[in-house]
Symmetry: C2
Subunit: 188 residues, 2 copies
């Protein structure tokens, strides 16, 4: 019924990783040991107390929030923009962008970078993607820096239609090509 010290400490780490919001008293109950034992364990493993754990989760969140806000605007970082003509953005491929299995970037991240850049280059209040035709030329991997370049090919003001080509490269090699048909409307 009871675990060895080592096993208990391993489980303790696991448990707190899953849910850091547990008091020593609660932990003591779940492991059937005294509160003091839990405290000794925490000391040995240098696990901070409940309040500090919560604080660090909260602090982490606060940072993330700042980080995730711009993501809602454009995926990647715009490094050059000439409205209604062309724009360039940069996206560093990280662990969260790839398949765990093979480290290859998931297509929708490259699409998101290209598509949001196409939206950004349009100098109007409303820009929606109508159609797009895309090709994933070459797999992109973790650590790759993807440079996407959007170029406005044509602009039909009658039909409120703009055609934009986006070409994404990694170290000067094309990895993605897409053509986006965008609907646009000025709200003035």
């Amino acid at each position: 019924m009871k675990y060895t010290k080592k096993e208990r400490q391993r489980l303790l780490l696991e448990t707190l990783d899953k849910n850091p919001f547990i008091t020593d008293e609660n932990l003591a109950a779940t492991f059937h040991v005294s509160v003091q034992t839990i405290r000794l364990d925490r000391m040995e493993l240098s696990i901070p107390e409940l309040r500090e754990r919560i604080k660090s989760v909260a602090a982490h969140n606060f940072e993330e929030e700042v980080k995730s806000l711009p993501i809602d605007e454009v995926i990647g970082e715009i490094i050059d923009i000439d409205l209604d003509k062309q724009a360039i953005s940069l996206l560093d491929i990280k662990q969260e962008h790839v398949f765990a299995r093979n480290g290859i970037a998931r297509g929708h991240h490259l699409f998101a970078q290209a598509n949001s850049l196409a939206v950004a280059v349009i100098n109007d209040e409303l820009a929606l993607t109508r159609k797009s035709n895309i090709t994933f030329v070459k797999p992109v991997k973790v650590g790759d820096r993807v440079i996407a370049k959007a170029v406005v090919l044509s602009n039909d003001t009658e039909k409120k239609n703009t055609v934009i080509q986006v070409m994404s490269k990694v170290e000067n090699e094309t990895v993605f090509v897409g053509e986006f048909n965008m609907f646009r409307e000025t709200m003035k």
Copy 2:
């Protein structure tokens, strides 16, 4: 130098919104009033104590983390799957999926749902998108529930190529159509 009660309370709200990690003592110092005054203010404005504030930020974060994890696998929720034949997924459009300006879903989220469903329906270790041709038929808005259905159209084992059609609907109306050319490989 000193603010009126109203003004101080307004600033208090603002301050804590920007940074919830401040003790009453600290607040008292910054507003040049006593700790008790701050506590009365918090009561009147029903602002919880420091520890509770931190906890709620942390809890929020934790939820988000759990939410964003499955996102790495499939965007949306798979509700039916018949490997190598068809699959259906569901995505509820929330505030974070849309343009703040007009409440219309950003294209890449619909693409991500469709593309990740296309990957999921393939019964192989490796599935990568080669090409795709997509049409955003009708704008999707906040609160919409998008049902995506992926159907395997053809499967060329020689060329390791699979063609999948994904059709997404909101209340039985088509909002998105995409054709995905997938590269597949069994790693056995």
